[in-house]
Symmetry: C2
Subunit: 319 residues, 2 copies
């Protein structure tokens, strides 16, 4: 396994995190029967602190920095949930956070980062521009850059979501055949691969059409950049998956599927109307894969609902 | 206490219900800090089966009928969550359900009742018309009418939500000063009064302005009907609270406050934007009471989020 990471590292991440993250609900979604033929469980990371699993990785990573490193302040670049996660970690550890965000970031995300006390530095509209701004901030302040996904401590932190899910299923006397995970940079996926080592779980990675860097990378045998194409799943749009994330997914034999915006929207509606869950488009991608026949009908499925950060007023008024 | 009901009856209801209802999450909503000055916990009955606490009462009531009674079929009248709850109970116990619903019921609620296999009988637009139709259905079929709130088994079933909440707080090593409950017919409230017997918890009932039958009843010393006035909280609009519900609330010394639609909408937005919770307007009424200064700032608050059944597309597109 890449860098020698294993399930034990995820177990240790969970010990370190302790009660600093929420044990999110794992819900059996019987209400989806009729919409999909599967028996479905959902790990509700939309109810994690800051509304997404990203809190796990950031709190784990920042917790492992030395006191003197943390005192230099945190820096990151993100248009979304990782920004809030790093802001939360800075608040919890009593240090400064500087976040490079796109000029066109939604009001909701800007407000959330500000409420957590982080400084926002607006920088263009592309991921590259944000990363450049983060490097400038680092040169100015000597702060520590918290990478969004290509980092072993981030990966192991995200893996604790899957670890909890497996334990919650076991406590309920249940088991599943397949774990369906949305993929942007691949942090949640790589963490899931580590957490499920030693089980027979099949792991299916879901990417939006045109944003399938993981799928293309696994076929090419090396990290492969994509456009990325337009999608409503704004959390699943990194140009290229992480090197480490790719290696872990390759070793684990992950399968990749793609879903289009129509399927993601249908999944979002089903989750809202039938299961009363507020999910962001990225978090609905696994159900979109079920709705479009990517998972055999006789399989029991656990899906990770990665986040719930939408502005429902703005989002639904546009549909 | 009215009819001799007590906390023991709620404990017995919980034993009877067993795992047939969900132990819903009890979440500490730190994310609301800044919006409200209180330390707030939420009992998420929006994530209960059928998206509302009503499943508890209906499953408890129907479970206590004799086999021969159940075989005669269930009948109820409701524009909302009680319809789905009775449909669910009929499905679980393998009997027929006939539901009198208003002609103008939203598509989402009609679909949900139909998915659960119940028969819908459309009857005018008022509560009185629905009740008349239910009585006709009973005359035709000899089915059992499942009352929405004025029934000891319904009340004790709803009380299990508060029982769980108190236990979840205790397990987390926490306690609260005040429990804030949305009130329509008073089933959830009466159940909460029973479940909290022997504690020092203050219970605050929240009603929409113009729909304050419980508040007026407690001031008048007897059940008092209201208009009811218009409100977006469609679950909190019964004309008059239940006799039994009133008596239990009176004995418990419940305090009543009212909130307007503006406050309810602000609460809904805060729950969606800050806590990623899909809540229906009725379920947001307790937070509306906090937002409008009805609860002392130094109090620790638990609120019951009674339901999450909104059609987000239809709801938010109108705002």
């Amino acid at each position: 396994m890449a860098l020698g990471l294993s399930r034990d590292d995820v177990l240790r991440a969970r010990e370190r995190l302790g009660h600093s993250v929420r044990k999110t609900p794992c819900l059996r979604l019987q209400q989806l029967e009729g919409a999909v033929p599967h028996k479905v469980w959902a790990k509700c990371e939309n109810l994690q602190w800051i509304g997404a699993f990203k809190a796990r990785g950031a709190l784990h990573k920042v917790g492992r920095l030395s006191q003197s490193e943390r005192e230099r302040g945190l820096i990151t670049y993100s248009s979304g949930n990782h920004a809030q996660a790093v802001a939360l970690a800075a608040q919890r550890f009593g240090t400064r956070a500087q976040i490079a965000m796109p000029k066109n970031a939604p009001r909701l995300k800007i407000d959330a980062v500000r409420r957590l006390g982080a400084e926002i530095h607006f920088a263009g509209t592309t991921s590259l521009q944000r990363r450049e701004r983060a490097l400038e901030l680092q040169a100015e302040s000597r702060g520590i850059i918290i990478e969004p996904f290509d980092d072993p401590d981030i990966i192991c932190g995200q893996g604790t979501a899957t670890l909890e899910l497996l334990e919650q299923l076991e406590e309920a006397g249940e088991s599943v055949d397949v774990l369906v995970i949305p993929v942007g940079g691949g942090g949640l996926l790589a963490g899931a691969c580590l957490a499920t080592q030693g089980t027979k779980l099949r792991i299916v990675a879901v990417e939006p059409v045109g944003c399938d860097s993981m799928g293309q990378s696994l076929r090419a045998g090396q990290p492969t950049a994509v456009g990325p194409g337009p999608t409503i799943a704004d959390g699943l749009k990194p140009t290229v998956v992480g090197q480490l994330n790719f290696e872990i997914a390759q070793t684990a034999g992950v399968e990749c599927v793609t879903v289009d915006d129509q399927a993601i929207l249908a999944a979002l509606r089903a989750l809202a109307e039938r299961a009363q869950l507020q999910v962001e488009p990225s978090g609905a991608a696994p159900l979109a894969a079920l709705l479009t026949g990517h998972i055999s009908v006789d399989e029991r499925v656990a899906m990770v609902i990665s986040g719930g950060n939408i502005d429902p007023h703005a989002f639904w008024a546009e549909r």
